[in-house]
Structure formats: C-alpha cells, structure tokens
C-alpha cells in the first residue's frame, strides 16, 4: 500500500480503516448503477455466447459452442463440410483496415494542426482549442449526416463538379469504403488533436533550437527531436481514434448504407434479422478483446514513456 517505514499507531490504523470505509460508501451508488447497467451486462453477455439461439431471437437456455464456432467458421448445410467464415473474416479485416487507415489519416492531419495550435501565442491557444472542442462535443450522428450531405450524389461536391463541367454524371461516393474512411476521419479527428496538443504544449523549444544549432535539417529536427518528445501524445491520440473506429456503428451504417458492414453492424445484424444472439454476443466479446489488447499496448507504452520523461 504505502512505502512508509515507521510503525503506525493503533489509532492511525483505525483512522485509515475508517477513511477507507467512508470512501467505499461514497463510491457505492456509482458502483451499483455501473454494475447493473455496464459491468454486469457484459458478464451476462459472456454467458449468453454459450447458449443456443432461439427461433425468433433470444436464446434457449441450453449449452452450445455454435456461437463461438460461427465467429470464425461456417458449416455447409448440405455437405456438412467446415470452412472458414469468409463473410465474417472479411468484415473483421475491413474493420481493422479502415480503423488503421482512419488512425493514420487523423495523425497526418492532426499532428500539424496540434503543432500549429501549440505554437500560437499563449492567449490565442484557447480559441483554437475551442474550435477543436466544438466539433468534438457535437452529436456524432449530426456530423455523420453533415458529411453525408457533402458527398451525396446530389451533394455539394458533385453539384459543384457538374456545374463547372468537370464531370458529366455525379461520382458515387456514398456507400463505399472510402465514404466510411472519410466519415470516420472527420468524426474522430478531434480525438487525435486534443491529446497531441496536450503533449506538444509541454514541448521545450530550446531543444529544437539546439537541434538547428547543430545543423540539423527541419526534417531531422521533426524526426529526431519533436516526434520522440511528443510520442506519448501520438500513442494516446492513435488509441483514442483506433478504438472507437473499430467499434463504429453509426458512421458505417449511414455512410456504408448497410452493404459495407463493419464489426458493429455485423453485431447489430445478429440481434436483428440474423436472430442469432449467441453469435452476436460472441462477436461483441471478440471486439472487446481486440480493444483490450490495444488498451494494454497503450498502458504499457504510457508507463515506459512516463519513466523516461517524468
């Protein structure tokens, strides 16, 4: 608990115990609500992933490993031969690929933007941060809708392009993987900029000046001085973008039009038309597992860099 060497007196121990008890009591209401409506349901879902699907949705309370089996494999109904579940794996692959690309694009746009804000005079920084915060707190659905209006067949881009005769027919941008990529980048960009800014704000420009004094080029200063110094921000921002992208549901549903599915949509399908709740539960837990791996990676990285710079 603590590293104190001296012996605590009996009263001190008693006071500490009382404090701990008081603290636990204060936290109890929050823990009960979260237990009932956040943590507990996850455990129930884990149990459901081992049950048999009911005919009209729901489950039969009978053990079955089919839910987990179907995440990765499928069985041909005529020949009983077992194959890899291509449809599911391609959705997994699309989710991971699109999330990685979203993270990279956000980083490419977000890094210079955060640097731009961090190099403004102190009094102007709050204004620019505020400009990033506003979209961040704007409803995700509204922002997705806004992007949809821009890239629709009858949207702004196509209208402008056709009216100045660059193209004859509108370009189909909606309902493609690219649309999902653009949408997710737009929606999650602030999540990249804010942690990047937080670490760039603390950047010591004397070190950069020292780099230039030693005849480093701008690129070398960026690569060997700035990026290593703001690495915690880069990692934090990447994780903050990657995780919600992986579990994205609204953006691929609206911009992918139901055909270009990501994991979130595949999960929804099992609770809707698919009527296979155990499979849906197993898929959700798989998604959760991938997210936890990403989070562990982040925690490990944060600890390492914490030792280096603090």
């Amino acid at each position: 608990m603590t590293t104190e060497q001296y012996q605590l007196s009996a009263t001190e121990v008693k006071v500490q115990q009382q404090q701990a008890k008081r603290n636990w009591l204060l936290c109890t209401p929050a823990l009960i609500i979260l237990g009932v409506a956040a943590s507990g349901p996850l455990l129930v879902m884990f149990y459901y992933s081992f049950l048999t699907p009911g005919n009209y949705g729901g489950v039969e309370f009978e053990f079955s490993s089919q839910g987990w089996f179907k995440v990765f494999f499928n069985k041909d109904i005529f020949t009983d031969s077992v194959g890899i579940a291509d449809a599911h794996l391609s959705i997994f692959w699309r989710s991971i690929r699109l999330s990685t690309m979203t993270t990279l694009v956000c980083l490419i746009i977000g890094f210079p933007t955060a640097y731009f804000i961090a190099t403004r005079p102190q009094k102007d920084r709050n204004f620019w941060l505020f400009m990033v915060t506003i979209p961040f707190w704007t409803n995700l659905l509204i922002r997705t809708f806004a992007i949809m209006e821009v890239i629709r067949n009858k949207g702004i881009i196509n209208n402008v392009l056709t009216s100045i005769d660059i193209i004859d027919a509108p370009i189909q941008m909606l309902y493609t993987d690219a649309a999902i990529l653009v949408g997710m980048t737009y929606v999650y960009l602030p999540l990249m900029i804010l942690p990047l800014y937080a670490s760039m704000e603390k950047l010591d420009f004397n070190l950069i000046e020292a780099g230039y004094d030693l005849y480093a080029t701008r690129f070398r200063v960026l690569k060997q001085v700035i990026i290593p110094l703001v690495k915690p921000g880069v990692v934090a921002g990447s994780i903050l973008v990657f995780i919600p992208s992986l579990g994205a549901f609204v953006t691929p549903r609206v911009l992918g039009g139901g055909k270009r599915m990501m994991l979130g949509n595949l999960i929804e399908l099992q609770f809707g038309q698919g009527r296979n709740w155990p499979l849906g539960a197993a898929l959700s837990i798989t998604l959760l597992f991938i997210v936890m791996v990403a989070l562990l990676f982040y925690v490990k990285n944060a600890q390492k860099s914490g030792l280096k710079y603090d």
Partner: protein, 272 residues
C-alpha cells in the same frame, strides 16, 4: 536570438513547412460540413444542395411534426434525469477517490467508473439489450426507466472526470479549518467543500446532459417500441428521403451542444 524585429522576418525555430497549411485545411474540413448543414436548414427550397432563398419554414415544419415533438420531449426527460443521477453519484464517487491515502480496491473503482469510456458503445448496447430483454419479459414493464438507467451509467464517467479534476486542485486546509471550528462533517461539506466544488459539478452535469442528449447507439438498442429520442428518430429518418427538416433538427441540437460547451469552457477558464 537577436532583437525581435529582425528575428521575426528570419528563421523561426517554431515553424515547420506545410504545417500551417495542413492546419488550415483541417479547420476547413472540420467546419465546412457543419456550416453547410446549418446554412441549408434555412433554405426555402427542399434541396440540400441548391440555395433557393432564406426561410425558417423547415424549423416550423419540424416543430409541427408530432413525431419530432414526442422525440424531443423524451430526449429532454431522459437527459435531465440521467444528468441529475449521474452527477450526484459521480460527485460522491469523486469525493471517495480523491484527496485520500491510496486504499485497497481503488484501482478497481477507477476501472469500473471509467468502463463506459473504454468498452465500445455497441458492446455495452447489445449487453444491455440482452439483460433488459430478460427483465422486460419477467416484469412486463416497458417504460423509460431502462433508458434512464442505461444513460445514467453511461454518463457517470463524463460527470466524474471534471468533478475529480476540480477536487484534485483543491487542498483540504479549509475543511480542516472548518473541522477545527467544530463544524460537523456535513456542515463542512455543505458550507466549504460544495461551494468550492460547484464549478466542477456544474461542468460535469452539463457534460452528462449533452452526452445523454446525443446518445444514439445505446438508446437504439435499449428502447422499447415507440420510444424514439431525437437521435434515434434521426437515424431512422436517414434511410428515407431527407428533407431540410433534418438540418433544422440537427442545427437545433448543435446549438444546444455549442452553448453547453461554451459554458463549460468559461467555467473552466475562471478556475485558472
């Protein structure tokens, strides 16, 4: 460095080529879609791309729409309740986790409180769907309590974080002084801690309100038939023919978020 006059025109250690350009592009990207959406909510025609003159008729038609009225009412009722409950329990939890010696289970408490931030929303949503389906089956009750409960749980970390941040910036000298003057724990909380903590609580409550008001995914999975909030109503409409009525509703929701965020920003700035 030489005098500021000459060094300004010359080499600057802070500048990196192209960065300003990308930053400008970034802000254009962030704002053009939102501003377009707001602009076309005032279009007098029904097109989302052709400007036909200024009008507020879409706001009027949204206001007249019975489904929109009901969804708005439900959204506000749920958000107010969720924000209230989440803020109360988050304030207690913040008091129980800051300004104290480390105690057994503290990390576990942190993890549970922040769980909604770490677990993908879709996962929480289907887990709640599974659990509430059983409860609905047994009790036959299908009211909005499920939505309020789910929203409250989801909002707790958003209310908790600003309150905790505020508490961590306060030392407990004043509370100790109050105790020295024979104030009961309750009186010292009521007259010392609470007034100092108030900006944090207010910021937490507003964040919780905005989060609840904007929530789509959890609501979509937890709601019973006929319980549409504004965001789930919009999600349903996006599959049909879209009229600028949607822009009008979006703009109204956007305005609420902007006002709340601005207030939080001002509250936080006064602290420093």
């Amino acid at each position: 460095m030489t005098s500021p006059v000459t060094s300004k025109a010359q080499f600057s250690v802070r500048k990196l080529p192209g960065f300003t350009l990308i930053a400008i592009f970034c802000f254009v990207l962030l704002y053009v879609p939102i501003l377009t959406l707001v602009l076309y909510s005032f279009n007098s025609g029904s097109s989302l791309a052709l400007w036909e003159g200024f009008s507020i008729k879409w706001y009027y038609s949204a206001w007249q729409n019975k489904a929109v009225q009901e969804a708005t009412g439900l959204s506000i009722v749920i958000a107010l309740q969720a924000a209230l409950y989440a803020t109360v329990v988050a304030t207690m939890a913040a008091l129980g986790t800051t300004r104290t010696r480390p105690y057994r289970g503290q990390t576990a408490i942190y993890t549970i409180i922040n769980q909604p931030l770490m677990v993908p929303e879709i996962v929480t949503a289907v887990a709640l769907l599974i659990c509430f389906a059983v409860v609905k089956e047994i009790t036959q009750y299908r009211g909005i309590t499920y939505l309020v409960l789910a929203h409250t749980a989801f909002c707790i970390p958003f209310a908790y974080l600003p309150i905790r941040a505020r508490l961590e910036g306060m030392n407990n000298l004043l509370e100790t002084a109050a105790a020295d003057l024979y104030a009961t724990p309750w009186r010292s909380f009521r007259y010392v801690t609470l007034p100092l903590l108030w900006p944090g609580i207010l910021a937490g409550a507003m964040l919780a309100f905005v989060i609840s008001l904007d929530d789509v995914v959890i609501t979509e999975f937890v709601k019973s038939a006929g319980q549409d909030t504004l965001p789930t109503y919009m999600l349903g409409q996006l599959r049909r023919v879209i009229t600028p009525e949607m822009n009008a509703i979006s703009t109204a929701l956007l305005a609420i978020s902007v006002v709340m965020v601005s207030l939080i920003f001002i509250l936080n700035r006064k602290k420093t």
